[in-house]
């Protein structure tokens, strides 16, 4: 186990209390809504943010509490990179090597090798202001990795890039991360980035960990509204009666196939939700009248939000084709019938 951290601190309205452990050579993504404390957590790990009593950070068995940022074996890729504007790309990368005691010529040679590795051999003498967003991101990654850190911290490393360059840089970043033996903590609010770069996810909301696990575990069994929205599924919390029925409140209940009892989460994937113009006669054991509350086109799919006619606090998202939207003449306010097979309702304990 490489990084073992428990961070507690209070900043304004944010009360952060997060424990985290990351194996060497693996990446943990900290995901969560804005203001959840993700960046503050990263800064605390870097030693840039004072922490409260009861916090502790140890790396490869070495306790780092009280160690100032400049003496921690870390590398940080900041959200807007924070390249030094007065230094060339080469001197930006060489900065950490020189600050840690390497001689000028050696530092520059090693920095040049790093810039070659990220594909910027031609841009070494350019100032940050002359670099494109993608090039600046690569310099930031090279600068953070050049010191061979034991802990690599990445704060939204791809969020400042435009959508066209992001996938390529994500793959590239993934490759560089794979070559490093550091424990890596990635902060992001982008589920694609998290799933694409991380081995494990830690979901932080309001300064606390609400869920952690592999990307697959988390998308299959979300435990909060935020995570459910992140992975795009319908999440309900309710009570299972042990008799294939989960009541989610306001008189609304779902028929399932499990024999779970007590407090549970029920998840329905939007693709498993079917919409009809009249009461369906099929075999689906869940069906109810509803009113369309929203129609959102996303590429070649359409996400239709329907609010149950009998329980306005219960709504469900169905993913349908644009052809279906035309056929059913779906628009805001349309009356529809919703159906979901009992086998498509996944139930797990809350």
């Amino acid at each position: 186990m490489s990084l073992v951290a428990s961070v507690r601190l209070q900043r304004g309205t944010l009360a952060l209390d997060v424990s985290l452990s990351v194996e060497s050579g693996t990446t943990v993504a900290v995901v969560g809504p804005n203001g959840a404390g993700k960046t503050t957590l990263l800064r605390a790990l870097a030693g840039l943010e004072p922490v409260d009593d009861g916090s502790s950070v140890s790396l490869d068995g070495v306790v780092l509490d009280g160690t100032p940022a400049e003496r921690r074996p870390i590398g940080v890729v900041f959200q807007d990179y924070l390249l030094f504007p007065h230094l060339s790309a080469l001197d930006n990368v060489a900065f950490g090597l020189r600050a840690r005691g390497m001689r000028r010529a050696g530092a520059r040679a090693e920095a040049a090798a790093w810039l070659g590795r990220v594909g910027l051999a031609e841009e070494m003498d350019m100032r940050p202001s002359q670099l494109s967003g993608g090039q600046a991101q690569r310099v930031a990654v090279a600068r953070a990795l050049a010191g061979s850190p034991r802990l690599l911290l990445l704060d939204e490393p791809l969020s400042a890039l435009d959508a066209t360059t992001r996938p390529a840089l994500r793959r590239e970043l993934r490759r560089h991360l794979a070559e490093s033996t550091a424990a890596r903590v990635l902060v992001t609010h982008d589920p694609v980035e998290a799933a694409g770069l991380a081995d494990r996810l830690v979901v932080v909301e309001d300064g606390r960990v609400v869920q952690s696990g592999t990307p697959a575990e988390i998308s299959q069994r979300p435990r909060s509204r935020y995570v459910a929205d992140l992975v795009g599924v319908n999440l309900y919390r309710g009570r299972a009666d042990g008799n294939e029925r989960v009541s989610v409140g306001d008189g609304f209940s779902l028929v399932t196939t499990g024999a779970a009892t007590g407090e549970v989460f029920a998840v329905v994937h939007p693709r498993a939700v079917t919409l009809h113009l009249s009461e369906p006669e099929g075999t689906a054991r869940n069906s109810w009248p509803a009113v369309v509350a929203g129609v959102d086109h996303e590429g070649d799919r359409v996400r239709v939000t329907a609010t149950a006619a009998t329980s306005t606090s219960t709504s469900i998202v169905a993913e349908v084709t644009p052809a279906a939207v035309r056929e059913l003449r779906l628009a805001e306010g349309s009356a529809v019938w919703v159906s979901v097979k009992a086998t498509e309702v996944a139930v797990y304990p809350a």
Binding site: A46, G47, L48, A69, E70, I74, G75, F95, A99
Partner: protein
């Protein structure tokens, strides 16, 4: 009608305001003895004054940088009780009549002054009526220009870049030397130039504290005054043109900072 009359009044007032700046400079240039300029400037008294002004103003600027930069840093970055008071005190030489500044310096560093007693008794140093005294008086009036500019530069610097440097293993001194200072350099340079220009033109505090002895404390402004008093108007104008030239050059150097506005400067 009333608004039109009102705007006419504003335009006339603005024009008068502009003329207040233009007319004296025009007068100086118009009356300049262009043909005898070189002769006036190459007289031994003028050359002495020029040399002395350069020496004193450069020393004054050096002193300002040496004590002003640390002071600006502390004011910008180190919270301590009474910081607002110190910040206000730094402004004193800016608003104090220079003559009063000279008197204050005499009372502080004169032979029997508050600090001067000990300078004389312990180190045998006397400042009044010496070249060093001239430089000190100039530094006194020039210091606020450097401190104000430098403090604002240190305060507006992007602290996150300093944090980035720390995560790369740079201790406080390395961060200052390799990040903070280079990033603030344009503003610090402008502050130093302003301080130097102010030191070069200093008259009141210098003549009060350091007096007027040719070759030792008679800088250009004092020499201009002496020449006017003795009736050598063209000699006075010639030296005045030198100072005007310096002022124009300083304006040219700092043009972008002023015309472009402080807000857009780094």
């Amino acid at each position: 009608m009333r608004t039109r009359a009102g705007s006419a009044v504003v335009i006339v007032a603005a024009a008068v305001g502009g003329l207040v700046f233009v007319v004296p400079v025009a007068g100086l240039v118009w009356r300049a003895p262009w043909w005898g300029l070189w002769a006036s400037l190459s007289s031994s008294a003028a050359r002495e004054a020029l040399r002395l002004s350069v020496v004193c103003s450069l020393w004054a600027t050096a002193v300002c940088v040496m004590v002003g930069l640390p002071l600006a840093w502390v004011l910008a970055r180190v919270p301590f009780p009474g910081r607002r008071l110190v910040r206000a005190l730094v402004l004193v030489p800016l608003v104090l009549p220079p003559v009063v500044g000279g008197v204050a310096l005499l009372l502080a560093f004169g032979r029997r002054g508050l600090a001067g007693v000990y300078l004389d008794r312990w180190f045998g140093i006397t400042l009044p009526f010496t070249t060093a005294g001239s430089a000190l008086a100039e530094a006194f009036v020039a210091l606020p220009f450097l401190v104000l500019t430098a403090e604002s530069a240190f305060r507006s610097a992007d602290r996150r870049l300093e944090e980035a440097a720390r995560t790369l293993g740079a201790g406080p001194w390395t961060v200052f030397r390799r990040v903070t200072l280079p990033l603030a350099a344009p503003a610090l340079g402008a502050g130093a130039v302003l301080a130097w220009a102010r030191a070069l033109g200093e008259f009141g505090a210098t003549i009060t504290f350091a007096g007027n002895s040719p070759g030792r404390t008679t800088t250009i402004p004092i020499q201009v005054y002496l020449l006017l008093e003795s009736g050598d108007v063209s000699g006075a104008i010639a030296l005045s043109l030198v100072l005007l030239g310096v002022a124009v050059a300083v304006l040219a150097v700092l043009r972008d900072r002023w015309v472009g506005g402080w807000s857009s400067s780094p």
